[in-house]
Amino acid sequence: MTASLVLQVAIGGLLMGLVYALVAAGLSLIFGLMDVVNFAHGQLLMLAMYAVFEFHTLLGLDPLVQLPLVAALLFVLGVAIYRGLIARALAVRFNTGMVQIFVTFGLSIFLVGFAQLVFGTDFRSVNSGLLFGRTVAIGQIVLPLPQIAAGLVCLLAFAALMLIARTEFGRALEATREDRDAVALIGIDRNRIFSLGWGIGAATVGIAGVMLASFYYISPTVGDSFALIAYVTVALGGFGSLIGALIAGLLIGLTEAMTALVIDPSLKQIGVFMIYVLVLMVRPRGLFGRL
């Protein structure tokens, strides 16, 4: 095992970590805002990947060019999910917590079935495009361009999220999360804030999906493993913390890559879930959690 191989794997892991971080950020945003865990988060990722595949196959659109389009589609989908399902679940008077879990969990099952029906169960991949098959070599370290692009775009999207948090709208989000009943006293429609929160959360996971589609296989269940990692990331980073999601995503990407290198690629997630168990035992609120 040479030093350059270790470095190459580490950088690859960190790049993937940026993708994990962005997926987790969307999950964390929604949870932080309204205490709803979106169990269909991985399926949103999956839908974004299929969107890329279909637009690429049918219209010949390059995956990278599709970025704004798919992000916008996911935004609309997120708003629709909130308006159509979540808002109704929140209005339930009994067993509210359970209802919220079942609604998003049911949605995830529905979306997997929907994908199987519409897109088929075959594994797909996008095999051309601006990024496809290219590599970047720095000395002895060789990295695939799609991964580098994915890491960079996810980092940019993350920066955008942090900028949003600093705007007046970001303050309104924070206020709504602190006291969802009190915002009406200052003329803020919490349904609007919740809708936009879902839109932004879905758009971010959509961006991650677009970038993944350039180098990752696409199947109806591809979202599962990413969703699992996202839950671990959010738990490690601390529920509701953006910066926590970023650092946790990087740590998890690195851990996964190193586990694959040192133990075995097929066991790469062992390290990740060991982190999860450790977090639960040592620091249940996560690195930057408030609870």
């Binding site: 303050r171 309104a172 200052i186 803020i188």
Partner: protein, 236 residues
Amino acid sequence: MPAPILHVRGLTAAYRGLRALHGIDLDVGEGEVVAVVGANGAGKSTLLRAIAGQMSIGGSVQFAGKSLARVPAHQINRLGIGLVPEGRRLFPRLSVEDNLRLGAYARRGPDRFKPLDFVFTLFPRLQERLSQRAETLSGGEQQMLAIGRALMTAPKLLMLDEPSQGIMPRLVDDILAAVRRIRDAGVTILIVEQRLAETLEIADRAYVLQTGRVVMQGSAAEIAGNAEIRRAYLGM
């Protein structure tokens, strides 16, 4: 009484099926300070919450000639009704400045932060604490911030729910003096208070509530001077 800006008839409201207001009739004239007094559990807070659209109601509430039936709470605020609620309900982790500025969030236009100057004139202390988190303020300062935040929504009618609750006695007079200055600036006031004497001093008229009903109304001086009312309905 001047022309009523708030016109309430037969207002009913219930908590978990338990009726808390049994048909309240109440008017607030433009520019008035109207006090609602009564013992604990008389329905004073419920009355304000019902007007602000925070619970479902029966009967009619008209504000500036417009019915508030089935208008959602955030729209009621935008129509010009500000509520400083029981327990203040600030955004504890946001700074004093953010709490104030968010008061203007739902409004558009260049003038929306204009009430800030008035808030700082009323409560210079808030200006000294702009970057502090709301949760680090003392009870009195939090009350000032809650009033300031409500003023940032540029209300025509400001409703205050026991502004003296949980604050140092020394500050109670300051708060009530501020209420008077808010009225002098042209804002109509509907205030709920336990502190009878001090409140009736700044009020034009008052309503006495008992178990969800208006049992007495009149000028503040009449209510203040009537020992029987005080004993019978206010427990003092």
